[in-house]
């Protein structure tokens, strides 16, 4: 491929090839300070023109790579960075078999990890990123990796994708950590945020999980906490996992142990201050 970027995020290494220079330059800036993979890359992502002439004429980026699913509309070249991010997500969702992959945000404090999962729009990603700016170590906002043998949560601190309204919550961060503004994407306005230096420096350190939260965001919601039973938590986590079924018995073992050992709570909140207060009150030993 003409332009290549290799990226290590937690235990996973990616090789991203692009026919165009721009997406790779943007990746390089966004992921400045990340380590270069040492040897094998687990997954290959390719950004290439869907048809030969679409490389120049109204260029549009098809997302390809080791693992693929039925055809979707390609993205305009202006959203090439988003295409790269989606390409990495896709490889993880379909190809990651060394961890139980949970669609969840995770943060760590005092050596213990908090896992937050829920529908997109439930605020787990924003909440994870915010906590990561306020004394917690950010471990990831998109995927959490549960070790199949060690039962630990392994960090996967990719860039956070901030959407629409949530952008305003991060006004205070160093501008150098922000990616370009991507307007008109299928998910609206998107801007990526590089995790802070601590999150990057400690991306190799897993943490013992201590609490599972199922947050729900709604402007009209009263703050509330509900206990979630292990059976319900198990069910919800299988639906939040892209590879639970594929992992077979190892997935069953890891997840039953996980939900059996940890408290789970559903929380409702109307703004992030409420959410932070709820998290603090629920954090074991707080």
């Amino acid at each position: 491929m003409n332009h290549v970027f290799r990226l290590q995020v937690g235990p996973v290494a990616f090789r991203i090839g692009s026919q165009w220079r721009r997406p790779v330059e943007q990746l390089r800036r966004l992921y400045a300070g990340y380590p270069e993979p040492d040897g094998l890359c687990d997954f290959t992502v390719r950004l290439e023109a869907e048809r030969v002439w679409r490389r120049w004429l109204r260029p549009s980026v098809a997302i390809r790579g080791d693992y693929v699913l039925p055809d979707a509309a390609p993205l305009p070249l202006a959203q090439g960075l988003l295409a790269a991010e989606m390409g990495m997500n896709l490889q993880m969702a379909l190809g990651q078999k060394s961890f139980l992959l949970l669609h969840a945000a995770s943060v760590e404090r005092d050596g213990r990890a908090l896992l937050m999962t829920g529908h997109s729009g439930a605020g787990k990603s924003t909440l994870g990123a915010l906590l990561g700016e306020r004394g917690w170590r950010f471990m990831g906002d998109e995927f959490a990796l549960l070790g199949l043998d060690d039962g630990l949560l392994h960090p996967f601190p990719r860039a956070v994708s901030l959407k629409n309204e949530s952008l305003g919550l991060f006004d205070g961060v160093d501008r150098g950590r922000l990616g370009p503004v991507l307007a008109g994407t299928p998910k609206g306005l998107i801007r990526h945020l590089r995790p802070n230096a601590e999150a990057v420096a400690r991306m190799g350190e897993p943490a013992r999980p201590a609490l599972i939260l199922f947050p729900r965001f709604g402007r009209d919601l009263e703050p509330a906490v509900r206990e979630v039973g292990a059976a319900e938590a198990f069910m919800r986590l299988t639906q939040a996992s892209t590879n639970y079924v594929a992992l077979g018995e190892r997935g069953f073992d890891a997840l039953t142990r996980f939900v059996g050992a940890l408290p789970s709570r559903a929380i409702d909140y109307a703004d992030t201050a409420q959410a932070e207060a709820l998290v603090d009150s629920l954090w074991p030993g707080a």
Partner: protein
């Protein structure tokens, strides 16, 4: 039809974890996880002794539990159909 005998995979090929009164079952042969509510786990237990029909299963469960049903054999037959669709039992 009423005389159909059902069989199930031997217990050692099933992984069972109890969570809050529900039975979580991993079925090695299919690689699938099922949530079972009573009386499905009891039916599988009854079949561990060998193939049986709905009436026989009802009788064997009746030895261990107080059954709350007007027509236990019919109720068991309905549950067997579900277990059959999930591949956990089959007709011999």
């Amino acid at each position: 039809m009423a005389a159909s005998l059902y069989a199930a995979d031997p217990p050692e090929t099933l992984r069972i974890v109890e969570l809050e009164g529900l039975t979580l079952l991993y079925h090695r042969r299919s690689g699938l996880t099922h949530f079972l509510a009573p009386p499905a786990p009891q039916i599988l237990e009854a079949l561990a002794a060998g193939p049986a029909g709905a009436a026989g299963i009802a009788a064997s469960i009746g030895e261990r539990f107080e059954i709350e049903s007007e027509d236990p054999a019919a109720a068991i037959a309905a549950r067997l159909a579900e277990l059959e669709a999930a591949g956990l039992v089959w007709r011999t």
